[in-house]
Point group: C2
């Protein structure tokens, strides 16, 4: 394992024309986190610090990230450039204040420019079974992180929220102004965290800046096939499940389609899939929007510098469309069985992405075909995910 | 200081005809907590354990409680009875999982029958300035407490909520079915905690039982004058402020009345005051309603055994009525100055207490005159609160 723990000050060496901004990504080894880390590395403007407890992720992802970043450097790269391209990774549980503090202490006051807080438990179903675990890991951990940030004068925050905050939305496509009303503890934990962040920005409007990004359905993988989604156990989401089926990792490869009598074009549920690399770029845009010269907070109705944006394509895809796209990408002949509706499923969750486009300049141009191709590329190259390492 | 740390097993000695139920009261030394502890002691059915971090309370309150409890024992009380009447008190911060666990470990699995969770930060105004502190102490602490309880098979919970959860209520008097919508981080922290508790009861319906009690405006003190409200600094609430003025503790004893142009009988804000001893009895009733033979959960719409009740008199009193009542009780000539409305104040917060009466048998019979008399009795006997000890 080649995890690199960089020196705290090296990226700020005098030789550098413009000092790199150090950005902490929580959950940096996870599916979305790892693609964000890679996107930040590619800019060569950020020095990335990752914290992860590897509950639902693998340290190998960070090794791969470093390989990708080193390979992308010019042949004549300096040692400093090579060091900057490496991720500082820390094994850290955000529910443990002492561990969080130790990470910030390493870089000192002002040593971390901003935080992208991705780490969270993310299964809607599981959250109804063990709600306390979800509130601890998704809400208490966020409070702990924000408190430590404040103490270390780190007051720029990008938060991973979710379309789940809309529950059953009254309007499709869903604008950000929709009332927040989640059904599951998972969704509620995201609303609570957004609320806490917003209250903090309201309490200290001259200090804090924060953006919540409400994810729709991220899919695909980095085109290199070196990093991707590697859920533990049977995948809970449709696309990884289809990829596992095609690669032969699912024992009973019959796909249950939960309901085909929804008020949608083909009767199956509609979701708004976007490529995980597009999603990751949204985080880069949000991070840049936290800079002093940013205009995104000009439209805030109060002095608080807080905004929430949808990250989606604005284009709904049905379960059957997804299956068909994966059939084309993999050549695998999925056997579908339509069963009854699943409790808690919402017919349509399609984003209105206009605000993110207008204010952040966000777009999600990659289409479903590309998502499926990149997912299948990752899955073929890593039939057992990171597990083999 | 005569705080008693009782032996974990003494109250369950074989000689006892019916073993006492051990009940943990968080914030047991605080204003409301201390009156709850006393009420539990008076039943002689409960052995009380108090945890408190003394952030806004004084250990002296527990010494006083023990004095009251010992004095109430019959002359021929056994040593066991004397021991049972004493509070086991622990200095413990609920945001520190290790400290919480240490308390539960002392009594072992099943050693604590139920918990009354009163401890919280409670200033609406302060919560807008330091929201993270409020979310940490009011939400994260509740999650930590519930997790530890679960681990030690302690699954009966009475939660101190607040009328603040109703924000600006659409209907007066306010029924429990009113939508929850708080304006301040304090109020939101109470809604979040209620939500978390309810989700827990839904996840484990055969295990957990919980009741949230939404307090209106507790006032007065135990008639002995030995325990009462002793806010640190200038009191944030009206009645303690009036008592401090009458006893000469306020430097600029001019009372600012925030707005006299509200749509209320005399134009000043209306609140629902109830005697703190009546409020405390509500906790005893709620605790009893957690017993296996309780009927209060029969009316739940789902299997979760969770209920929320208003604790109020159902009778609104205006600021000017309160001042007049305190003038009668103290003989002090309050100088009022009407100033502009205060941001965040709601015209009328009067409870509909019908549900608590019907299901818990709750009543708040004591009138405003008695509240003022008992408050003044406490303040006269303790002009400096517990501070002198």
């Amino acid at each position: 394992m080649a995890m690199v723990n960089g020196d705290a000050s090296s990226s700020y060496a005098a030789a550098s024309p413009e000092p790199l901004k150090r950005v902490l990504v929580t959950g940096g080894a996870g599916y979305i986190g790892s693609h964000i880390v890679l996107t930040l590395q590619e800019t060569r403007k950020y020095k990335v610090v990752s914290v992860d407890n590897y509950h639902n992720s693998f340290p190998a992802a960070l090794t791969r990230l470093n390989e990708i970043a080193q390979a992308a450097l010019p042949e004549n790269a300096t040692n400093q450039e090579k060091d900057s391209a490496a991720v500082d990774s820390h094994t850290c549980d955000l529910t443990n204040p002492a561990q969080v503090r130790a990470v910030f202490e390493k870089y000192g006051k002002g040593g971390i420019w901003g935080v992208i807080h991705v780490a969270a438990y993310k299964s809607v179903g599981e959250s109804t079974e063990v709600p306390l675990t979800y509130y601890l890991n998704n809400v208490s951990a966020t409070v702990c992180l924000l408190q430590t940030m404040s103490e270390f004068d780190c007051v720029r925050f990008v938060y991973s929220s979710s379309a789940t905050v809309y529950g059953t939305p009254p309007i499709i496509p869903i604008p950000e102004s929709t009332r927040l009303k989640a059904d599951s503890p998972y969704g509620k934990s995201k609303i609570m965290s957004e609320t806490i962040i917003q209250d903090l920005c309201q309490a200290e409007p001259d200090r804090w800046r924060a953006i919540s990004l409400r994810y729709f359905n991220p899919a695909g993988a980095h085109p290199s096939g070196l990093i991707g989604e590697d859920p533990r156990g049977r995948p809970g989401n449709l696309l990884p499940l289809l990829a596992h089926m095609a690669v032969g990792r699912v024992k009973d490869p019959k796909l249950r389609v939960f309901g085909d009598d929804y008020p949608t074009p083909d009767g199956t549920c509609v979701r708004d899939y976007l490529h995980v690399m597009d999603l990751a770029k949204g985080h880069l845009l949000a991070l840049e929007a936290l800079a002093p010269d940013s205009k995104v907070f000009d439209s805030c109705s109060d002095p608080a510098r807080y905004k929430a944006y949808n990250l989606g394509k604005g284009k709904g895809m049905s379960v059957l469309q997804i299956v068909e796209a994966m059939r084309n990408a993999t050549g695998y002949d999925y056997k579908c069985e339509v069963v009854g509706r699943r409790r808690g499923d919402v017919p349509d969750l399609t984003a209105d992405p206009a605000l993110a486009e207008a204010e952040l300049g966000f777009k999600a141009p990659q289409n479903l075909e590309t998502m499926c191709r990149d997912l299948w590329n990752w899955q073929q190259k890593n039939p057992d995910g990171y597990g083999a390492e």
